[in-house]
Amino acid sequence: MQPKTTKAQIRKKPKSGLFRLREDIPSGLYSALGFIIPAVLIFLWWLVTYLGLVKPLFLPSPVAVLAEGWRQVTEGILFADASVSFYRITIGWLAATVVAVPIGILMGNFRIIEGSLGPLISTMRYMPVVALIPLSILWAGIGDAQKILILFLGTFFQQALMIMDNVKNIDMNLIRAGQTLGFSNSEILRRVILPAASPGIWDTFRITIGWTWTYLVVAELVAASDGLGRRIMDAQRYLATDTILFGTLFIGVLGLLTDYAFNKSGLRFFRWNSDKR
């Protein structure tokens, strides 16, 4: 039952406004804005091309970009490109993850390992992956392995450091509680540290797979005959700007979907987690 509203209560109500620091806004508005802003931008984009303010070569109209997308769908190119790129991303990211998780966990727990690998990995992560393409070809050939190697190099170093931080961020007293209860180091590692750090690690997965997506074009830059990134690079040669724009936006959408999937599954897996993000 709603209590009767008196004058005093009305006066006490906090000032409403959309620009209060850190305060929530209506959730409907929050979600709507996510669509409204892109819609406005697309409208402006359409307007600029419709009025002929920019030549189609420099900026094709949204309709032309969509038409290009439809062409790729009907010709079966899009699905073929997307599946081969998706495969490379998955394998590249998984390869990075499989190595980064144990290394990150060890670095987060043992100062000796952090001291040994930390400076090296911190330096390597600034390495320009594009510059390594020639070497990657020498090492891994021109097949899928080379693409996967590039995606691995673009993902691994950051990921290892972030997982180290995830592990370090857990409450030291959880470890101590495990010790006072008589558990061994390896038991504490598996049964206390790992579960405690897992929501954070999952979030690192979400962020790093986004980075793997951004390295796709770089990975498919050389010696590829298919893939979403390859399509964009080919289009460059013929100045097919509609293809470039469609491909770029499509990668963005796939990245967003991956992000969403990780986010939702994380909330499901770690329902017990009290950290609000």
Partner: protein
């Protein structure tokens, strides 16, 4: 209550502790002697930085003294052990386990049968007043309830010593009062030796048989006061004249120490 002819449960023997980071050495504890007897409840109070948590950690085996020795039932402490339970200020519960799961986890290294473990878990859930919340996750509980889980987890495997490091420091005043009464009841029902670190003088007196006041930087025992208030105690006791006297004495000691620290800091600034 105390029987001085028997071996003390905890013997802190000329313990000193220096934290040496390689570039800087800080003396946390200069010299502490302390005997705690079986089933005694001892509170340790002092200003921040007096080394009270360090002392507790060393008794818990989570840290090592630089000099001196700590004996539990006459045996030198070498790391954490299941004869001691620990309750931390941060609730430090395993969030991915239910209330029951957290308490049961503590029994994993015990030699009880499954039926005995079930019984112990059920008993302690009830003892700390969490019946009906067995399958809740820590996230769903209030701060006071979480700390009750931590207490149950620290007692369920029957340690002879319970070490508590400002366990109620993060709770609001009302909840803290309730928790103190609950703790006393649990302690009276399951006789165990308690060492309780706090900076709340009322809390220290209300709970303890003996209050140990530590000097600030570096740690020394300034004074030990026997609290001869009747048991079982309830919260009315804090308004008695006797309680007031204890409080006045201890507050005076702590105030003196605080002033000393402030004077030292001033000196350092110059």
């Amino acid at each position: 209550m105390t029987n001085n002819t028997t071996m003390p449960r905890i013997k802190v023997d000329a313990v000193g502790k220096i934290f040496d980071s390689g570039t800087q050495a800080v003396q946390a504890i200069k010299h502490i002697d302390l005997d705690v007897h079986e089933n005694e409840f001892v509170s340790i109070v002092g200003t921040s930085g007096c080394g009270k948590s360090t002392l507790l950690n060393m008794i818990g085996g989570l840290d090592e003294p630089t000099s001196g020795d700590i004996l539990i039932d006459g045996v030198s402490v070498d790391g954490p052990g299941r004869n001691r339970g620990f309750v931390f200020q941060s609730y430090s519960l395993f969030e991915w386990m239910t209330v029951q799961g957290n308490i049961r986890f503590a029994l994993e290294k015990s030699n009880f049968s499954k039926a005995e473990k079930d019984e112990l878990v059920a008993h302690f859930v009830q003892a700390v007043g969490l019946s009906g919340f067995e399958n809740s996750y820590p996230k769903q509980l209030s701060g006071g309830m979480r700390q009750r889980v931590a207490i149950a987890r620290a007692l369920v495997y029957k340690p002879s010593i319970l070490l508590m490091d400002e366990p109620f420091g993060a709770l609001d005043a009302q909840t803290r009062g309730m928790m103190q009464e609950l703790l006393l009841k649990v302690w009276e029902d399951h006789k165990v030796t308690v060492l309780f670190v706090t900076h709340d003088v009322d809390e220290a007196i209300f709970l303890a048989d003996r209050v140990v006041v530590l000097c600030s930087s570096p740690g020394l025992v300034k004074r030990t006061i026997d609290i001869e208030l009747e048991r079982p105690r309830n919260f009315d006791i804090v308004t008695t004249a006797q309680f007031g006297e204890y409080k006045r004495d201890i507050m005076a000691d702590i105030r003196e120490e605080t002033l000393k620290v402030m004077a030292m800091e001033k000196h350092d600034e110059r």
